[in-house]
Symmetry: C2
DNA sequence: TTGTAGGCGTTATCAT
DNA sequence: ATGATAACGCCTACAA
C-alpha cells in the first residue's frame, strides 16, 4: 500500500460542515471559476448556469470565505477603522454608524485604538494593513497628514475630523468653527458679554477650530477678547470641573461659559454648583456635541448638535464609494444649536 | 517564446514591499518550514538556525500574514466579540478592556453588534465564524444558551453576563444580585422603607438578578414588597424619566428609588426635578454600574460599582487561556457600593 | 532536526 | 462564455 493517493487532510472540526465554492461548482455542474465569476460579477455568464449556481448556493447555504478571498488577492471584505478610544461616548457613536453602513455592503469594520498617541496609531495602522483590510477609515488622530499619507499610500482611505489637506487623502470634517460661532453668538444674543471659553486640548484640530468660532463671534459682536476668560482643558468631565475652579480663582467676572464639548460642560456645571453658582441663573452654559446625556443633565444642556452617528455613516459611505472606484461625496448636516435650559438671558 | 516559465504574478501595489516567510527563509538559508516552526514554536530547532532566522526577520521587518495563516488552518489571530450595541456607554468599556487585553497577545478583536435581537445576533456569530476567528466572546445577548452552544460548538468561546449553564460554554457574570442587595440595603440602613425599584427589561438576565437582590434586601429587613413600587422600564435615560412619572401617577408614597442601572437613574433624577422633588432631600436615588458620568450628575450618584472595563479584560484573559488550551480562571471584584450624594437619611 | 510537498478556498490568467 | 491551472502566504504531515 505505498499509497500515492493524496489523501485529503481530514477536515478539522473547525471547518467541517463549511461549504466551499468548489462544492457549489460540483453541485451546479460548472467549474469553480464560473461560480467565482458569478459571485463577483467578473464576467458574463449564461443565464442557465447562473440560475443553476444560484440554486446550488441556496441549497448548500454557501457563504464565500473572506479569508480565502483575502489571500487570493481579492478583498477581505473588511475595512480598518482607526479610532482613538473605543469607549468614548463621542466616537462610539461614529463607530456605530460606520458599522451599520458597512454591513449593508457586506463589509466588516476592524476597530483599533490609537489612544491619541502617535506610536499606537502607527502600530494600529500597520496591524490593519498586515490584515489586508480593503480600506482604512481614520478618525482624527495624531499622525501628521504626511505620515498618514505615506502609510496609507496603497489603500483607499478616508480621514474624518481633519481639514482636507492637499496631500490627496480623502478627508472631511464637521464644521466645528461655524458650530462654535453659533454657540457663542447665542450667548451674546442673550445679553452676555463676559463669556468664558473652555478649550479642549489644542492638539485636537477641532479644539482649535472651536476656539476660532468663539473668537469669530466675539469679533463680529465687537466684544474684546479677554485671555483670562479662556481656560485650557482636555475635553473630559474632570477637566471641565477643574477649569471652572481655575476660572473662579482668576477672579475675572463672567456670566456665561462656552464649553467646547459637552463632557467638559458636565464637569463645569458640577463645579459651578460646588461654588453655589446656579445654572443658568448665575451662569449660563453652552456645550458642543449634543451627546445623549445632554438631554438629561440638570438642567438639560444647551449645545451644538452634530450627529456623530451620521458622520460615521458618511465616512463609511465614502469608503464604499472609494472601494467601487467611484468618487466619494459627503454632505454633512450643518451645525445646529439645540436650545435647552442651561443658558438664559443675562440677568444684568 | 512559448514560455512555460511560470512567471510570478506581478505583485499588486497593495502587496509590494511586504516581506514573506519565504524571503526570510531564503535570507536565513533555511527552509520555509523551519521559519514557520520557529514562529510557532511547533518543533525544536537548532539554536544556530533560530538565531539566523530571528535576525533575518528583524532585518527584513517580516510580519506574518494573518490572512494566510487563517487560510492555512492556523489561527487568524483574531477573536470575535458579539456585543449588543457598540456605542453603549456600558459595553463600550468592556470592549475597551477586551481590546487592550487581547492586544498584548497579538490578537485583534472583531466587534459585531447583535442589537439585542436574535436574528442579528445569529448573523453576527455566523459572520464571525466565516471569518475564521480563533474564538468568540459573547456579551450578554438574546440567543438561548442552547443555540449559542450549538453555534459555537467548534470554537473556544466565553460568555459574559449570563449565568453559567451546564451546557459547557465557559461563562461568568458579575454578581448583580449581591450588588442590588447592597444598594437596597444601603437605602434601608438610611431609614427608608418605601423603596421603589426601576427595573430594566426583564429579557436581560441581569435585570432579573438585580430585581432578586432588591427583593432579598427587603425580605431580610422584613419589609413587605409592594408591587406598585416596582416599575418596569428599559435601562435608558428616557425610560427612567418615564418610570418616575408612572410611579408618581400611582400615588403610592415612596422616599427612595433603587434604579437598577445608572442611565435610568439619570432620567429619574431629571423626572423628579421636573415634579419639584429634590434629590436627595425629598427622594433618595441609588443607581447601579457606576458609569463615568455618575460622578458628575447633580447630585453625584450613589451607585454600585462594577468595573465593566475589568470584566472586559477578564473575558479576554479567559479567551487567551482557552486559546492556549489552559483552563480559564476569572476572579471578578465583588460588588461595591460607592456612596456619593444622591442618597441620604430618610427625613421622616 | 530539517526539508519537501501538498493543501487551505478563492481569484486571476491563460487557453479553448 | 467557460475551464484548467497557477498563485496568494503559511502550516503541516511525511520523508529524510
Amino acid at each position: 500500500m505505498s499509497s500515492k493517493l493524496p489523501v485529503k487532510k481530514a477536515p478539522s472540526s473547525r471547518t467541517e460542515g463549511v461549504v466551499t465554492l468548489e462544492q457549489v461548482a460540483l453541485r451546479a455542474g460548472v467549474s469553480p471559476s464560473t461560480v467565482s465569476r458569478i459571485l463577483n460579477g467578473t464576467a458574463i455568464v449564461s443565464e442557465a448556469k447562473k440560475a443553476a449556481v444560484d440554486e446550488a448556493i441556496r441549497e448548500l447555504g454557501f457563504r464565500p470565505n473572506p479569508v480565502a478571498r483575502g489571500l487570493a488577492g481579492g478583498r477581505t471584505m473588511s475595512v480598518g477603522v482607526v479610532t482613538q478610544r473605543i469607549a468614548s461616548p463621542f466616537y462610539g457613536e461614529a463607530l456605530s454608524g460606520i458599522e451599520v453602513a458597512l454591513e449593508t455592503a457586506g463589509y466588516v469594520p476592524l476597530f483599533v485604538s490609537g489612544n491619541w498617541n502617535e506610536v499606537d496609531e502607527r502600530k494600529a495602522i500597520e496591524s490593519l494593513l498586515s490584515r489586508r483590510v480593503d480600506g482604512v477609515i481614520v478618525l482624527a488622530g495624531r499622525l501628521s497628514n504626511q505620515e498618514l499619507k505615506a502609510l496609507l499610500a496603497n489603500v483607499p482611505s478616508v480621514v474624518v475630523g481633519r481639514q482636507p489637506s492637499p496631500n490627496g487623502l480623502f478627508s472631511f470634517s464637521f464644521d466645528n468653527r461655524a458650530g462654535a460661532k453659533l454657540a457663542t453668538e447665542h450667548l451674546i444674543d442673550l445679553g452676555h458679554r463676559r463669556i468664558a471659553l473652555l478649550q479642549g486640548d489644542l492638539i485636537h484640530e477641532d479644539a482649535i477650530e472651536r476656539q476660532s468660532g468663539y473668537l469669530d463671534a466675539l469679533a463680529a459682536a465687537g466684544i474684546p477678547v479677554d485671555p483670562r476668560l479662556i481656560v485650557q482643558s482636555d475635553y473630559t468631565e474632570a477637566g471641565g470641573m477643574l477649569a471652572v475652579s481655575r476660572l473662579l480663582e482668576r477672579e475675572v467676572g463672567f456670566s456665561a461659559i462656552f464649553s467646547s464639548n459637552d463632557q467638559m460642560a458636565y464637569g463645569a456645571m458640577l463645579g459651578l454648583s460646588r461654588r453655589n453658582l446656579r445654572v443658568p441663573d448665575d451662569v449660563s452654559v453652552v456645550g458642543f456635541d449634543d451627546l445623549t446625556m445632554s438631554r438629561y443633565t440638570m438642567p438639560p444642556l444647551t449645545t451644538v448638535r452634530q450627529s456623530v452617528y451620521e458622520t460615521g455613516t458618511q465616512a463609511a459611505a465614502a469608503m464604499l464609494a472609494l472601494l467601487q472606484g467611484a468618487v466619494p461625496e459627503v454632505n454633512l448636516a450643518a451645525p445646529e444649536l439645540v436650545m435647552r435650559e442651561s443658558a438664559r438671558r443675562h440677568a444684568r
